[in-house]
C-alpha cells in the first residue's frame, strides 16, 4: 500500500511538472502570436476569446507570471483549455473529447495485444535458444528500426486499393454517424485493422527482445537448475519459474515503452487520417493552433500517467516483494 501511495504521489508530481511545462512553453514563442492570430481571424474572435488567448500565451502585460500561473490552473480546473483556431469557435476540450476515444481504443487494444504476443514470443525465443526462434531476432531488429509512419505508408501502398478490403483512410465509412449500431461498429473495426496492425508489428519487437534477454539471463539462475533437478516438466519450469521472474522487468519497462508507442501511434493516425488525437495534433500543427496542440499534449501526458499507474498496480500484483512491508 505504501508503495502504491508513493507511486500515486509521484504521478501527481509528474502531472504538475507537465502542466507547468505546458504553461511555460508558449511563453517561449517569440513575437506576439495572439496579434498574428487576431489579424488572421479578422473580426471572428470575440473579446472573451482574445482575453483567454492572452492568458494562455502569457501576454497579459498587467499581470505577474505568478498571477498568470494561478489563472492558468483556474482555467484548467474548469476544464477550459482555450478555444481552437482551426475549428473556431469550438473549445479545445470538446475537440479532444471527440477524438480521444479513437486513440485510446486503438492504442489500448494494440498495446495489450502487442505486450502479450511479444512477451510470449520472447519467452519462446529465450527458452529455446538456437532453434528457429533465434531467427526472429534479425527480423524484429529490423522492424523495430522502421519508423511507425513509414510502415503505415507501406501498408497503405501494398494493401489498400479500390478493390481492397482495407480502407486507406478515416475511422469509419463515409455516410455513417458514430453510434453503437450494427452499421457503425463493423465499419469502425474494419477501418482500425490496418492502423492497429501497423502499430502491432512495430511495437511487438521491443517486447520480444527484452523478454528474450530476460529469459536468457534468468534461465541460468540457480532456482531454475533446482526446478529442473526436482524433475518438473520443461514447460512448467519455463512458464512458472523462468517466465514469471523474467516478466517483472518487462512490466516495469512497460512504462517507458508506452510513451514511445503513443508517439508512434500519433504518427500512424496521421498517415491513416484516423480521427484520433494524433491526426488532430497534425492539423493543429499545420494551422499553428497552439491551444489545441497544448491541450492534446496535456491529455496525452495524463493518459500515459494513468496507464503507468495501471502498470504499477499490475507490478504490485505480480511481485510479492513490493507487498512485503504491509
Amino acid at each position: 500500500m505504501k508503495y502504491f501511495l508513493q507511486r500515486v504521489a509521484f504521478y501527481l508530481f509528474t502531472a504538475w511538472a507537465a502542466i507547468t511545462l505546458n504553461f511555460f512553453i508558449p511563453r517561449m514563442v517569440p513575437g506576439d502570436p495572439v496579434q498574428a492570430l487576431i489579424t488572421k481571424f479578422q473580426g471572428q474572435l470575440s473579446s472573451k476569446a482574445i482575453e483567454s488567448l492572452y492568458v494562455l500565451f502569457g501576454l497579459d502585460k498587467d499581470k505577474s507570471v505568478w498571477q498568470e500561473y494561478l489563472d492558468y490552473w483556474n482555467q484548467l480546473f474548469h476544464g477550459d483549455l482555450g478555444l481552437s483556431f482551426t475549428f473556431f469557435p469550438t473549445p479545445v476540450s470538446e475537440i479532444i473529447s471527440s477524438s480521444l476515444p479513437w486513440t485510446l481504443t486503438l492504442v489500448g487494444i494494440t498495446t495489450v495485444i502487442s505486450f502479450f504476443l511479444g512477451t510470449g514470443l520472447g519467452v519462446l525465443a529465450g527458452w529455446r535458444r538456437g532453434s528457429w526462434a533465434d531467427g526472429l531476432l534479425p527480423v524484429t531488429t529490423f522492424l523495430s528500426s522502421v519508423p511507425y509512419f513509414w510502415l503505415g505508408i507501406i501498408a497503405i501502398y501494398l494493401l489498400t486499393g479500390p478493390d481492397s478490403f482495407f480502407p486507406s483512410s478515416g475511422g469509419f465509412g463515409s455516410g455513417l454517424v458514430p453510434a453503437w449500431d450494427q452499421y457503425f461498429i463493423p465499419s469502425a473495426i474494419q477501418h482500425s485493422l490496418l492502423p492497429a496492425l501497423t502499430i502491432l508489428i512495430s511495437s511487438v519487437s521491443g517486447w520480444i527482445l527484452s523478454m528474450r534477454n530476460m529469459m536468457v539471463t534468468v534461465s541460468s539462475e540457480d532456482y531454475i537448475t533446482v526446478a529442473h533437478a526436482k524433475g518438473l516438466s520443461d514447460r512448467r519450469v519455463a512458464l512458472s519459474y523462468a517466465a514469471r521472474n523474467a516478466l517483472l522487468p518487462n512490466v516495469s519497462g512497460f512504462a517507458l515503452s508506452l510513451g514511445f508507442i503513443v508517439g508512434g501511434t500519433l504518427l500512424v493516425e496521421i498517415v491513416f487520417s484516423y480521427p484520433g488525437v494524433g491526426f488532430q495534433l497534425f492539423q493543429a500543427l499545420g494551422a499553428q493552433d497552439y491551444p489545441l496542440m497544448q491541450g492534446i499534449f496535456l491529455i496525452i501526458t495524463i493518459s500515459v500517467l494513468v496507464a503507468n499507474l495501471i502498470a504499477d498496480v499490475a507490478y504490485l500484483l505480480l511481485d510479492p516483494r513490493t507487498r512485503k512491508e504491509g
Binding site: P26, I153, S220, L267
Partner: protein, 352 residues
C-alpha cells in the same frame, strides 16, 4: 583515514615487475578491442554505420543533381538519368537522399552527445553522492521518463521560430537523457561500494577524480550503449518532425522527402521510388545501430550471445538440446546415472 606508507608499498609490489606487463599491455588492450570487433553483429553494424558516415560527409558533393533543382521529368520512375526517380517538381530523389544523410547523422550524433553528457552528469552524480541529491535527481529523471518524449519534442519545436538542425538536436538531447541516467545511476550504485572505489576514496582522492577515473572506465559499456540508443531515437524523432512538417525545411533530410511524398499524394500516384528508399535508409541505419548495441550487450554479458546450433542429433537418432548450465549425458543403458562428479546438475533432455 591514513594508511601507513609501508602498506602502500605492498600494494604496489615492485615497480620492476610492473615494467613487464607494461610492454604486454597494449597488445592486451588491442586484443580486447579486437574482441569487440570480432563480434559479428557489432562488426556488421559498425561497417554499415561507417558507410553512412562517409555518405554524410561526401553526400552533398557526390550527389548527381542539386536536391532543390527542378527538372522537366515530373514523377518519373527510376531510370539511368535519375537512379531513384523524380518528384512532383522534377527533383532527383537520389540526390535528396544523399544530401539528406548529413542532416540526419548530424542531428543523431549531436543529440546523442548532448543526452549522453546529461545522463552521465545526472545519473552518475545521483548514484555516487546518494542521499538528498540522489532523490532530487532521480525524481527529475523519472519525470522526464514518463512524460511522452515525442509529443513534447513536437510541441517545443513547433513554438520555435526557425527550427534549425542544431536546435532540434538540442531539444531532442534535452528530452531524451532520462533513461540512460536511470541505468547509469543503478550501475553506479552497484559500483560505488566496491573495494577499488573505497580504496581510492581512502587514499584521499577528490570526489570528481574518483568519479572520472575510477567509476567512468567501468561504465564505458553502459554509456556507449546508451549513446547508441539515443542516436536511434534522435534520428527517428528528427525524421518524424520533418515528416509532419514542423522543421525549417531549408535543409534536406529523409523526413523532408517523406513529407513531400505524403503531401503530394505519392501513394495515389504509385510513386514507390519516392517514399521507399528514404524509409529503407532509416531502417537500415536503425538496424546497424541496434546491432552495435547488441554487440555491446553481448560483450558485457556473454550469456546473451546467440548460440550456434543447440540441437544435436546423436548416433542413435535422438535429438538433444544443449542449454546453459546443463551437460547432456547420453548413454544407451536405461539405468539411471549416479553422479559423483562436481558437475552440479546433469540432466538428460531427450526430445522424441
Amino acid at each position: 583515514m591514513t594508511i601507513p606508507t609501508s602498506s602502500l608499498e605492498q600494494v604496489i609490489p615492485g615497480q620492476g615487475s610492473m615494467a613487464q606487463p607494461e610492454a604486454g599491455k597494449p597488445t592486451k588492450a588491442k586484443r580486447q578491442r579486437f574482441r569487440f570487433i570480432s563480434n559479428k553483429k557489432a562488426a556488421a553494424g559498425l561497417i554499415i554505420l561507417g558507410i553512412y558516415v562517409v555518405v554524410a560527409i561526401i553526400g552533398p558533393w557526390v550527389a548527381p543533381y542539386d536536391p532543390d533543382a527542378r527538372g522537366n521529368d515530373l514523377v518519373q520512375p527510376p531510370s539511368g538519368a535519375h537512379w531513384l526517380g523524380t518528384t512532383h517538381l522534377g527533383q532527383d530523389v537520389f540526390s535528396q537522399l544523399l544530401s539528406g544523410t548529413r542532416s540526419v547523422m548530424f542531428v543523431g550524433f549531436f543529440a546523442g552527445i548532448v543526452a549522453t553528457v546529461l545522463s552521465v552528469l545526472i545519473g552518475v552524480t545521483a548514484g555516487y553522492l546518494g542521499g538528498r541529491t540522489d532523490e532530487g535527481l532521480s525524481a527529475l529523471s523519472n519525470v522526464f521518463l514518463v512524460i511522452p518524449a515525442l509529443p513534447l519534442i513536437i510541441i517545443i519545436t513547433s513554438t520555435l521560430e526557425s527550427a534549425e538542425d542544431w536546435l532540434i538536436a538540442l531539444v531532442i538531447g534535452f528530452t531524451s537523457w532520462s533513461w540512460n541516467a536511470r541505468v547509469l545511476r543503478a550501475q553506479t550504485l552497484s559500483l560505488r561500494r566496491r573495494d577499488f572505489v573505497d580504496a581510492s576514496r581512502a587514499t584521499g582522492e577528490k570526489t570528481w577524480r574518483v568519479i572520472v577515473f575510477e567509476l567512468m572506465p567501468n561504465l564505458t559499456a553502459v554509456i556507449a550503449s546508451g549513446f547508441v540508443g539515443t542516436v536511434i531515437f534522435a534520428v527517428l524523432s528528427e525524421i518524424t518532425l520533418a515528416f509532419i512538417g514542423v522543421t525549417s525545411g531549408t535543409t534536406w533530410n529523409w523526413g523532408t522527402i517523406l513529407f513531400w511524398a505524403q503531401g503530394q499524394q505519392a501513394l495515389a500516384q504509385e510513386a514507390w521510388w519516392w517514399f521507399i528508399p528514404a524509409g529503407l535508409a532509416i531502417a537500415i541505419l536503425g538496424t546497424a545501430l541496434s546491432l552495435i548495441n547488441f554487440g555491446i550487450d553481448e560483450f558485457v554479458s556473454p550469456r546473451l550471445r546467440s548460440v550456434g546450433k543447440t540441437k544435436i542429433k546423436t548416433v542413435d537418432g535422438r535429438t538433444v538440446r544443449m542449454r546453459i548450465g546443463f551437460t547432456p549425458v547420453l548413454s544407451r543403458s536405461a539405468a539411471p546415472h549416479t553422479h559423483a562428479s562436481p558437475t552440479p546438475v546433469i540432466r538428460k533432455e531427450v526430445t522424441q
